[in-house]
């Protein structure tokens, strides 16, 4: 009986460790992640006003999109286009880098989905977020 309990416990430990080893560390820090996060933080100060005005929203696939160009002065629309394109490039690179750092490049899609939910959860009140194909104001 005692041996059976030990066996079951060993099996449990094995299962837990197997599960743990398959978990992705999305907080992982590599020079690539640091460079990308810095780049995104710098850009965020420029993008924040466009999130607040509703011009730019957070998409359900972990990216940002120009949602309502009419909310941006005409002369700034090209700049917003550039910011959105650069932000999406960094976001895509970030998901790939985290997957790579976890030694599982094939996890990129799952990491992207996790980040998508996280960005939307952390979005400030008044920002526009996408869910089910439609936009809603948080």
């Amino acid at each position: 009986m005692n041996n059976l309990i030990k066996f079951c416990f060993a099996l449990f430990v094995l299962c837990v460790s197997a599960t743990a080893s398959a978990q992705v560390n999305i907080e992982i820090n590599t020079p690539g992640v640091v460079a990308l996060k810095q780049s995104m933080q710098t850009r965020h100060t420029q993008l924040a006003e466009f999130y607040a005005s509703g011009a730019v929203g957070l998409t359900s696939d972990g990216m940002v999109a120009l949602r309502d160009a009419n909310a941006v002065p005409l002369a700034a629309r090209q700049k917003v286009n550039g910011l959105v394109a650069a932000e999406n490039q960094d976001r895509k690179a970030l998901y790939a880098e985290i997957a790579h750092a976890n030694a599982h490049p094939e996890w990129e899609g799952d990491i992207r989905n996790t980040f998508a939910q996280r960005w939307i959860q952390r979005a400030q009140a008044g920002w526009w977020v996408q869910s089910g194909g439609g936009w809603s104001k948080k």
């Binding site: 640091v34 005409l74 690179a93 880098e97």
Partner: protein, 671 residues
């Protein structure tokens, strides 16, 4: 009591045959006569490009009239429940007039209307506050018949309901000018328009196509022969701004154009556009209007100023490419030819052009080039530049001849001067597969002075040279791959770099992997270069599985060991202190407390240290391992010194910090 009379009639109005059932309902209210009114119900009225259904006209005794139309089709537009009120309505055998009229849809724009049956003259005049006027005068008896539309401070937003909602709709601003239309029985045959725009704004629903404060003039003359129109136009866009995703342009443009229109295709036979700050371009085009498709096109520009031309017209399309932060200066001649859904030729001449990357990754100056590219025909491009820079390395003057055929570019041989050496490139080939560009070449790097290289890259000054033979460099799917070995001759030894791969070289986080094999580096030269305290001897250093992300190491297996062979082996007290301080400040203190401090240098037998870097942790080992301790410097000779490390797991960032002389914990001791 109600009396009803029904009259069947055909009426002629505006020279169009209008037919319908007109029911005059004469409502004679039984009691007072002053309340008499006439109601006319007309089932429908039809004419070419005009129908009205469910018309009800109520004529009141005091002379006013109410018109209610259930559905009105005019010029492709449909209005429902149209209501018109005429304060003074007159219908006689010679004319019909409506004074002080009002349309429910535009209550702030009262109108007057008159039509004389005999002369077939029509006058329609909408006038409002601020001197706004929309006036139509038409003479339908003239041959050809003619109509003149006069606009004065006409608010452009009133046109929004008449235009397709898919297009930018005017929201403010005024129109002035005249529009003259002539026609015959087959329809409109001539149009002459002279319009001035004042502070016009327009936008589509998405905001991706919009304009603000547009001012300018538009002149159009068009005449029809059979089914074909010949037209000529002049546009002078004087001010305001336009955003047409992804282009943003300001006023100052002019366009003169002429061509034909046959109802399906718009042909621009000749057009000259003046682009401010860029130059003049001539263009012609054939546009399939129904399919919104360019069938043929040609654009020719000479001496175009690239600085503004590239920024305004090319860069907005390159936001997602490596050229998104690029600036161009200089002059260019361009001849672009388009046919059958594809570019057939692009002939470009560049004069004294400079291309500079905003992120300082590359730059080329003094570019002169003749690039006559054809989709189907083989041609040769001549490209020369005066100097440049690549990843901080200066490039010298050179010229290339490139063979081109479609999306295949071949450079049989080319020389790229780098510092005092050069990269001899052979068999460079670039081609597009499934819209993805890939390229490869083989090359030889002739000797570059390490002194110049280290100065250019802001490294400590090194001596020696860099050279190498590279059988193949290839780029495909964002991966730059170097097959072969790069040879550096530095510190009187050799460094071989192989299996080099660089993923996403132009991205934010490029990833470099490869192996380095360094042999017999002179420690005397090395330690002097890096001010580490003098060590004499030679070392081998192997770095396998090296991986850099954003040019910082994230993984490697490095092993440093004294080179085999006989040579002088001495280590200075300063060097011992520095090695010890990598483990913490205590080691230094231990040495300084001991009698060994009286010696300047010590003998050693071997030096060895390895580091396996994973997840920012360096797992250390030495020449000899004894449990948790490992020997970094094994003593030998007199006086001898041995340095032992005790901490096998060292944070990489921390180690780098310590290397920068920030000493902390004491983990190494001196025996």
């Amino acid at each position: 009591m109600l009396n009803k009379t029904i009259i069947y009639t055909i009426i002629r109005l505006l020279n169009f045959c209008l037919s319908g059932l007109l029911s005059f309902c004469l409502l004679f209210l039984s009691a007072p006569l002053y309340a008499v009114q006439i109601t006319l119900n007309v089932a429908d009225v039809a004419a070419p490009s005009f129908t009205a259904r469910g018309i009800k006209v109520v004529l009141a005794q005091e002379g006013s009239a109410e018109f209610n139309i259930d559905e009105l089709h005019l010029a492709g537009q449909t209005w429902r429940k149209v209501h018109v009120h005429c304060s003074e309505f007159l219908l006689s055998s010679t004319r019909v007039t409506c004074d002080k009229g009002k349309l429910d849809a535009i209550p702030d724009l009262p109108f007057t209307f008159s039509y004389e049956f005999a002369s077939q003259r029509l006058e329609l005049r909408f006038a409002a506050k601020a001197n706004e006027l929309w006036q139509v005068s038409a003479d339908f008896r003239a041959q050809p018949w003619r109509a003149t539309i006069l606009l004065r401070n006409a608010q452009s937003k009133r046109l929004a309901d008449l235009l397709s909602p898919d297009w930018p709709l005017p929201t403010q601003g005024a129109l002035n000018g005249t529009l003259m239309v002539h026609g015959d029985k087959t329809g409109v045959s001539q149009i002459n328009a002279d319009l001035q725009l004042a502070d016009v704004a327009a936008a589509d629903a998405s905001g991706l196509h919009a304009a603000e404060k547009l001012t300018g003039t538009l002149h159009v003359d068009a005449a029809r022969t059979g089914q074909k129109w010949d037209w000529r136009g002049a546009l002078d866009w004087q001010g305001g701004e336009l955003f047409w995703q992804p282009l943003y342009l300001r006023g100052g443009h002019t366009l003169l154009a002429s061509g034909q229109w046959d109802g399906a295709q718009l042909k621009v036979t000749q057009a000259v556009a003046n682009l401010p700050g860029v130059g003049k371009v001539e263009l012609n085009a054939l546009w399939d209007v129904k399919k919104s498709n360019l069938l043929e096109g040609r654009l020719v520009g000479k001496n175009l100023t690239l600085a503004k031309g590239f920024t305004d017209y090319a860069k907005p399309f390159l936001e997602k490419s490596a050229l998104s932060a690029t600036e161009l200066t200089g002059l260019a001649d361009v001849d672009w030819q388009y046919l059958n859904g594809a570019t057939q030729a692009l002939l470009v001449k560049l004069r004294d052009v400079a291309i500079v990357d905003g992120e300082k990754r590359f730059a080329l100056h003094g570019i002169n080039a003749d690039i006559p590219w054809h989709a189907q025909v083989q041609s040769v491009a001549h490209v020369a530049f005066a100097d440049g820079e690549l990843m901080g390395l200066p490039l010298g003057a050179t010229q290339w001849q490139m063979q081109m055929r479609g999306q295949d570019f071949i450079l049989p041989t080319a020389t790229l001067p780098i510092l005092d050496g050069k990269l001899e490139v052979s068999d460079f080939r670039m081609h597009s597969v499934n819209d993805m560009w890939q390229w490869n070449f083989s090359s030889t790097l002739t000797s570059i002075s390490m002194q110049k290289l280290s100065a250019a890259l802001h490294w400590p000054e090194m001596h020696g040279s860099l050279s190498g033979s590279i059988p193949k460099v290839s780029y495909q799917d964002k991966l730059l791959k170097v097959d072969g070995t790069l040879l550096f001759r530095v510190f009187d030894g050799t460094v071989l770099a192989n299996h080099l791969e660089l993923l996403d070289p132009f991205g934010r986080a490029p990833r470099l992997s490869g192996n380095l094999d360094m042999r017999e580096l002179d420690l005397d030269l090395l330690t002097r270069t890096f001010s580490f305290g003098n060590i004499q001897g030679r070392i081998d250093l192997g770095v396998n599985n090296l991986e850099l992300v954003s040019w910082l190491p994230v993984r490697f297996d490095a092993k440093l060991a004294s080179s085999p062979g006989k040579y002088r082996k001495r280590i200075s007290q300063k060097a011992v202190e520095n090695i010890s301080s990598l483990g913490g400040a205590g080691g230094v203190a231990a040495l300084q407390r001991s009698f060994l401090r009286i010696f300047e240098t010590f003998g050693y037998e071997r030096i060895g240290l390895s580091c396996a870097l994973r997840n920012d942790i360096c797992t250390m080992a030495g020449v000899e391992d004894n449990g948790n301790a490992y020997t970094i410097v094994k003593g030998g000779g007199i006086p001898a010194i041995t340095v032992i490390g005790y901490n096998r797991k060292v944070g990489w960032s921390e180690l780098i910090t310590r290397l920068k002389r920030v000493s902390q914990d004491n983990k190494a001791v001196i025996k």
